[in-house]
């Protein structure tokens, strides 16, 4: 299982890549592996305001429905338009082609609450 060093993570298994005030968000390799074959993805719309800790989307595998929680607060500036038509991308490329949304941060201090790769790896080792 893969945990890229340069990313941040959450206990709900999202990953976050931060560049200036833009955060790209997706679900971790561990999350996609736990879910199994992803068959449906629901994303917010550009312009939606997200609040930290609140669900912003849904990922469904054959067997399960999972909410995806916003790791940070901010406005959605871009969504991965290809994902709803190719939800299996979350399985095949969770950290690259399977990115879900980009948001403009409204409270950059929230970044301090995110996990780094080693802390996240430790967390999932217990699950």
């Amino acid at each position: 299982m893969d945990f890229p060093e340069e990313l941040k993570y959450t206990e709900e298994h999202e990953w976050i890549a931060i560049e200036a005030d833009i955060a790209t968000i997706g679900i971790s390799d561990f999350a996609q592996n736990q879910l199994g074959d992803v068959v449906f993805v629901e994303l917010p719309e550009v312009g939606d305001e997200l609040e930290v800790g609140k669900p912003f989307g849904v990922v469904e595998s054959v067997k399960a429905v999972s909410d995806v929680y916003s790791p940070l607060s901010g406005e959605v500036v871009e969504i991965n338009e290809e994902l709803p038509d190719a939800p299996e991308t979350l399985n095949t490329s969770p950290y690259e082609d399977g990115w879900m949304i980009k948001i403009r941060l409204s409270d950059p201090q929230e970044i301090d609450d995110l996990l780094d790769a080693s802390a996240y790896q430790e967390l999932v080792a217990d699950e």
């Binding site: 199994g36 074959d37 054959v62 067997k63």
Partner: protein
């Protein structure tokens, strides 16, 4: 949690295990979609040893079973299998089952794992009117392992391992046989809609049988398959599942099980209530729905017809074959007959659907 004889094998194969009605069972090995496709195009091997086997024997065994099950047992010959159900007096279903006739005085019922003790208690409670001291009802579930070998390659995989001529074993028939040196029962039955076999073996030979089948089948594309694929496979074929389409609250006549409910065969438990329901009109009907937009229907989601809520989803999934959301839904009979526009409510949003004749695939 209860374990089948193959528990260590599943763990070795790194299966994802789940609690399935108190049983520690594999939900998937490589992935639900890959396993599903293996069964449709080649073959899959399922551990279904959690299923229950109840043996009924004695001079009045046939008469007793004819009275407690819904299908007409008198049509059955030795070596034949019949799909049937046990009903309560009010017409709701205790369990659905396959019934094996060895002789007119010896039968075996294969029942759902979660219902073994309930079925057994129900059957025993119904024996009181039988003075036959010879009538024996025995729970043999722990003595059997059960593997389902399913898919178009099932026969080519099994044939070299047994001396039985499988061409002569018809659908819904069974025979005693030796497979890979193990004495067992081969039944040409299954729950996937593909050709295939269910093998009832001694519990302590289950691991050996699994390994012999995997070894023989791997070159032909055989994959171990979990309960996830078992569910998508049966749902694509519109087969009912206990706890979804079948329950004490649903009449078999509502759940498309009229073909195993023989109201004219004579008296049986539940007949009076079912007969009355038929006279008054069956209130609800099970229909097939297919989403025309992306989404996955799930059990319990509301079903709307012409803008009004008329029922609920009993089983839903994303069909690996159709790559669309499919559902079985229990809706009021009037809507089922005349409804025009259909929707399934998913997370408070109504998604367009259309009725389809079953099976889906």
């Amino acid at each position: 949690m209860k374990k089948t004889p193959l528990n260590a094998v599943h763990r070795q194969l790194k299966a994802r295990m789940v609690d399935f009605g108190g049983w520690d069972m594999p939900v998937q090995y490589s992935g639900v979609i890959a396993e599903h496709q293996a069964v449709r195009t080649a073959a899959g091997l399922f551990d279904v040893s959690h299923m229950g086997e109840i043996e009924v024997s004695g001079r009045s065994a046939q008469e007793f079973l004819q009275y407690v099950t819904t299908n007409d047992l008198t049509k059955l010959t030795d070596g034949q299998v019949q799909y049937s159900a046990l009903c309560y007096e009010h017409g709701g279903v205790v369990d659905d089952l396959t019934l094996y006739r060895f002789t007119g005085e010896r039968f075996m019922l294969c029942v759902n794992a979660a219902n073994i003790s309930n079925d057994l208690a129900w059957l025993l409670s119904l024996t009181s009117s039988y003075n036959d001291t010879d009538l024996m009802i025995t729970d043999s579930s722990d003595t059997y392992g059960l593997l389902a070998l399913q898919g178009p390659q099932a026969q080519p995989i099994l044939a070299p391992l047994t001396s039985v001529n499988l061409d002569e074993l018809s659908y819904y028939h069974f025979t005693a046989a030796t497979v890979a040196g193990i004495d067992l029962l081969i039944s040409r039955t299954g729950y996937t809609g593909e050709d295939g076999f269910e093998l009832y073996c001694p519990a302590d030979s289950t691991v050996m049988l699994w390994q012999a089948l995997m070894q023989a089948g791997s070159p032909l594309g055989l994959m171990p398959c979990g309960l996830g694929a078992r569910d998508t496979l049966r749902l694509e074929k519109g087969y009912a599942l206990y706890g979804h389409e079948i329950s004490a609250e649903i009449l078999p006549l509502e759940a498309r099980l009229g073909w195993i409910t023989k109201l004219d065969k004579g008296e049986f438990v539940g007949r009076a209530a079912l007969h009355k329901a038929r006279e008054l009109g069956i209130p609800r009907q099970l229909i097939g729905l297919k989403l025309t937009v992306p989404g996955v229907p799930r059990q319990g989601y509301p079903v709307l017809c012409d803008g009004r809520e008329v029922g609920f989803v009993t089983s839903g999934t994303s069909s690996p074959t159709l790559k669309q959301g499919i559902a079985l839904a229990l809706v009021d009979s009037q809507s089922a007959a005349t409804g025009k526009s259909w929707q399934i409510e998913i997370r408070r949003s109504a998604k367009d659907a259309e009725t389809v004749s079953l099976p889906f695939v």
